[in-house]
């Protein structure tokens, strides 16, 4: 049972009534069971990932880097991973900085996605040669030497490094538990990664500060990375697309997808991972509110950009609107609008739905699909432009290209890369206890349920 009812019908989550030994037992139980449970999904993901790699070799690589359109779905997979898996650790940082206790069982569900960062980084390196230099075209780099290749790669490298550092250090205390009590197969890697961790007072004091600091650094790198990516992959590849709002839209919609990914991960852990005691209505409700807020922001940033183009109605603006929203990619845009804004608003505006577990989960799934459609729409439109349409500092889209219809290999690439990311998460889940023992036990001292007259109330300790 995940919750306790009381006189007034409210429910208090059982997490905070557990003993530290219960949490540890659950974490160790996860480690014992996880290998057997995840074997089949891991194998399926691995096969799909290999097929995806073969599809990249067979189609875009064989056609060469000069044909950028052949790389459309590699770019879509890259941008989707950056918008979801790479955004999830940023959510974890925000929750840590806010110092709320309900977030303690949630952090691992969002941070674990940081282990996938190597995949978008490799895809980025693969995509870089498809871009022409920036000397003779409009871009965020203003023609700076070796841009976008060298400087974009350094940014991505910094983000990848920060992401792995964040995942590693936030997991060190739990890795020490695996080192001491995991199965023999789990101990080797855990011992190496948690070398020297003994849980001393000094280490704990530094741990809490460092995890926050690295998380903040991660966010500080993530935002400019998404700004540069939105410019390099979308804005700079569509002549006449002069906008200062799009990078903000792109980043905000990525945060929205990061929240959605965390909610879906929590739902999976609750349904199939035995985490019902830790991931309850309190967590889904809180993240559902955040998801609703970011869905509204999605509309706000989209509208802010759209209204400028709509009122301007210069030929270059009309061309861009036709390409992205009104004609060429009209239906993907309508779907994106519905799934990222309209449906989340119409569903989550109702209190009973927002306060449930199923409601935010369904909306999060819709948002993840909507974000995928949005990234495919934008990438397909941008990657349809040949270099000749960009060079000479082109200011206008003279010919609106036809919609790009994906082939079988495109779909295999997309599914394969997403499966690759999932494979990395599943593999990592074999080495990390769920829930995070250090986080949840650390919260047990600071939060309790106490009787107050006829009610039971939550008492929260604030040591600082």
């Amino acid at each position: 049972m995940a919750t306790h009812s009381h006189a007034h019908g409210h429910e208090l989550q059982r997490t905070w009534e557990l003993a530290p030994s219960d949490v540890l037992a659950n974490g160790l139980g996860w480690l014992r069971e996880v290998g057997r449970r995840l074997r089949t999904p891991l194998l399926i993901c691995f096969v799909l990932f290999v097929i995806g790699i073969l599809a990249i070799v067979a189609t875009p690589l064989r056609q060469g880097f000069a044909n950028r359109q052949a790389w459309t779905y590699v770019a879509a997979a890259f941008l989707y991973l950056m918008s979801t898996a790479a955004a999830a650790p940023a959510l974890s940082t925000a929750l840590r900085v806010a110092r709320s206790h309900w977030r303690r069982p949630v952090n691992r569900a969002s941070e674990i996605w940081g282990v996938t960062l190597i995949l978008p980084f490799l895809l980025y390196l693969l995509l870089l040669p498809t871009f022409p230099g920036t000397e003779d075209r409009l871009s965020i780099w203003f023609g700076w030497p070796l841009s976008p290749w060298l400087w974009g790669a350094i940014l991505m490298l910094a983000l990848t490094g920060a992401g792995y550092l964040f995942v590693w250090f936030s997991s060190v205390p739990d890795l020490a538990i695996v080192r001491d009590h995991g199965t023999p197969a789990q101990r080797g890697l855990a011992a190496w990664l948690s070398r020297g961790w003994v849980g001393s007072h000094r280490q704990w004091r530094i741990y809490e500060k460092v995890v926050n600091n690295i998380g903040v650094l991660y966010v500080l790198i993530y935002v400019p990375v998404m700004t540069v990516l939105s410019s390099d992959f979308i804005i700079a590849l569509i002549p006449g697309y002069f906008t200062a709002v799009f990078p903000a839209y792109f980043t905000i919609s990525s945060f929205q997808a990061g929240i959605a990914l965390t909610i879906v991960t929590m739902a999976v852990l609750r349904r199939w991972g035995g985490q019902a005691d830790y991931l309850g209505r309190e967590q889904f409700w809180a993240l559902g509110k955040l998801l609703l807020a970011f869905s509204l922001l999605w509309f706000y940033f989209w509208w802010s950009e759209f209204i400028i183009f709509w009122y301007g109605r210069m030929p270059r603006e009309i061309s861009v609107l036709k390409l992205l929203m009104a004609e060429t990619y009209r239906w993907p845009f309508v779907l994106s609008f519905a799934m990222n804004f309209a449906l989340p608003l119409l569903i989550l505006m109702w209190n009973p739905i927002r306060r449930s577990i199923a409601g935010p989960t369904v909306v999060a799934t819709i948002v993840l699909l909507g974000n995928l459609i949005d990234r495919i729409r934008l990438t397909s439109a941008a990657f349809s432009q040949p270099d000749s349409a960009l060079l000479g500092h082109a200011h206008e889209l003279h010919e609106i290209p036809a919609a790009y219809v994906p082939g079988i290999s495109d779909l295999l690439i997309l599914v394969g890369m997403l499966a690759g990311a999932l494979m990395l998460v599943l593999w990592t889940a074999r080495y990390l206890p769920f829930p995070s023992v250090a986080e949840v036990v650390g919260g047990l001292w600071l939060r309790a349920h106490k009787p107050f007259k006829h009610a039971r109330v939550i008492v929260v300790g604030k040591p600082e």
Binding site: L24, W144, R195, G196, V198, G199, V210, N213, L217, G461
Partner: protein
């Protein structure tokens, strides 16, 4: 000066706090013992004062170095290879901003790593008494003191009803099993 280590293992928080109090009463300073646990406790639980850390200094220094490197690369390049700019300023700020920001963040990140390793003493190079029961929920009180004070430390640790006492010699001060 030789330092001897003694590790007392406690099953619950109350005993561990009592052990820390007993050590203080026996004349051990807070620098002579360390609390080991598998989860963080609120600051001051064991009577310790909040110590000073210099963690924030590392990313600051790194960011300053990275910013300087970014400025040197971008500004230096433009000043070293001046182009005819038609009356515009020689230094073009907008493209410099991205690269300087990259440098700042990269510097902060690298120095944060160094700060983490230094401030949390990771990886722990020296050998220290440790017991895997600590990650099982036991609380360890690790005393580092002069050889002549070892017996006094053991005596103080015993007062708080430990599950076990480990010394460098491998001797254990086993307690009778409790119900």
């Amino acid at each position: 000066m030789a330092i001897r280590e003694v590790l007392g293992l406690y099953r619950d928080l109350d005993s561990a706090v009592a052990a820390a109090d007993a050590l203080r009463e026996a004349g051990f300073s807070r620098n002579e013992f360390e609390v080991l646990s598998n989860a963080p406790y609120p600051e001051g639980t064991f009577g310790e004062e909040s110590g000073i850390h210099r963690l924030f200094v590392f990313p600051l220094i790194g960011a300053a170095c990275g910013f300087a490197a970014g400025l040197l690369i971008t500004g230096g390049t433009q000043l070293s290879y001046p182009l005819v700019t038609g009356g515009k300023p020689l230094l073009s700020i907008p493209p410099m901003i991205i690269i300087m920001y990259e440098g700042t963040m990269l510097g902060a990140l690298i120095f944060t790593v160094l700060g983490v390793l230094f401030e949390s003493r990771l990886p722990w190079i020296g050998r220290a008494l440790y017991d895997s029961r600590i990650t099982q929920g036991y609380i360890g009180i690790l005393v580092r003191t002069a050889p002549e004070r070892e017996a006094r430390a053991i005596e103080a640790l015993r007062k708080a009803n430990p599950e076990d006492i480990l010394t460098e010699g491998g001797k254990t001060g086993q307690q009778p099993a409790r119900g």
